[in-house]
């Protein structure tokens, strides 16, 4: 029973264009969402997060959008760069449970130069 789903296993984008990675969740108790980036043979690193009281959060080239009614969030990367090629994990938690994160399966992003 996957509570966090990333339905696209992979995504290929041209350098300079927008990358959009999607994530759906089923647990309505989740109120904090995070995106992690992972390179091969390395641990995940935090990218950006959003609380359920917001519908958008920006950090440089990265923007996360949250649609609570649809239980959907997305990560936009603009412009995409070859160094962005990695696996992106969506994660969710209930604030009450702190850092006990529930992860999606990940999306492999490949940015072509």
């Amino acid at each position: 029973d996957q509570q966090v789903k990333q339905n696209s296993p992979s995504l290929s984008v041209q350098e300079g264009r927008i990358s959009i990675l999607n994530c759906d969740y089923t647990n309505s108790m989740f109120d904090y969402f995070l995106w992690y980036k992972k390179y091969p043979a390395e641990g995940p690193t935090f990218l950006i997060s959003i609380s359920s009281i917001k519908d958008k959060n920006e950090d440089g080239r990265f923007t996360v959008f949250l649609n609570k009614s649809a239980k959907h969030l997305s990560l936009h990367i603009v412009p995409s760069q070859p160094g962005d090629s990695a696996v992106y994990f969506c994660a969710a938690t209930e604030m009450e449970y702190g850092n006990k994160l529930v992860f999606g399966a990940g999306t492999i992003l490949r940015v072509k130069s």
Partner: protein
């Protein structure tokens, strides 16, 4: 600047053997976690600790044990290894219980194969 260090990086175990994955952090974090990642799946929480002497089960604790005798160390013990425990294991730590993601630091992972 070590952060979270895991050893070993790679290990092959035979069915029924036991082993311990070591995890050390040098950031004086109270909270530590063990996750496993199976192919094509997200990370799943095995065990976590909120401080020395305190541990609790995560989503997939069966077949594992942990201890937390010091703030720095959080070893994960596999008893009677099974093929289903073939996975990549990640240790992580954070200084707060809040979900502010940039406080969670992951190690580089330990690749374990049980044959």
């Amino acid at each position: 600047n070590a952060g979270v260090t895991q050893t070993p990086k790679f290990r092959i175990l035979k069915i029924g053997q036991s082993m311990t994955l070591q995890c050390t952090q040098d950031m004086n974090h109270n909270y530590m976690y063990w996750y496993r990642q199976d192919p094509g799946m997200g990370l799943k929480l095995i065990y976590y600790s909120v401080g020395a002497g305190i541990t609790d089960k995560g989503e997939v604790p069966n077949g594992y044990n942990v201890s937390r005798s010091t703030t720095e160390d959080f070893p994960l013990r596999l008893e009677l290894a099974a093929p289903s425990q073939t996975s990549v294991y990640f240790c992580a730590s954070s200084y707060s219980s809040g979900p502010s993601g940039n406080t969670i630091y992951f190690g580089e992972g330990s690749w374990l194969t049980v044959v």
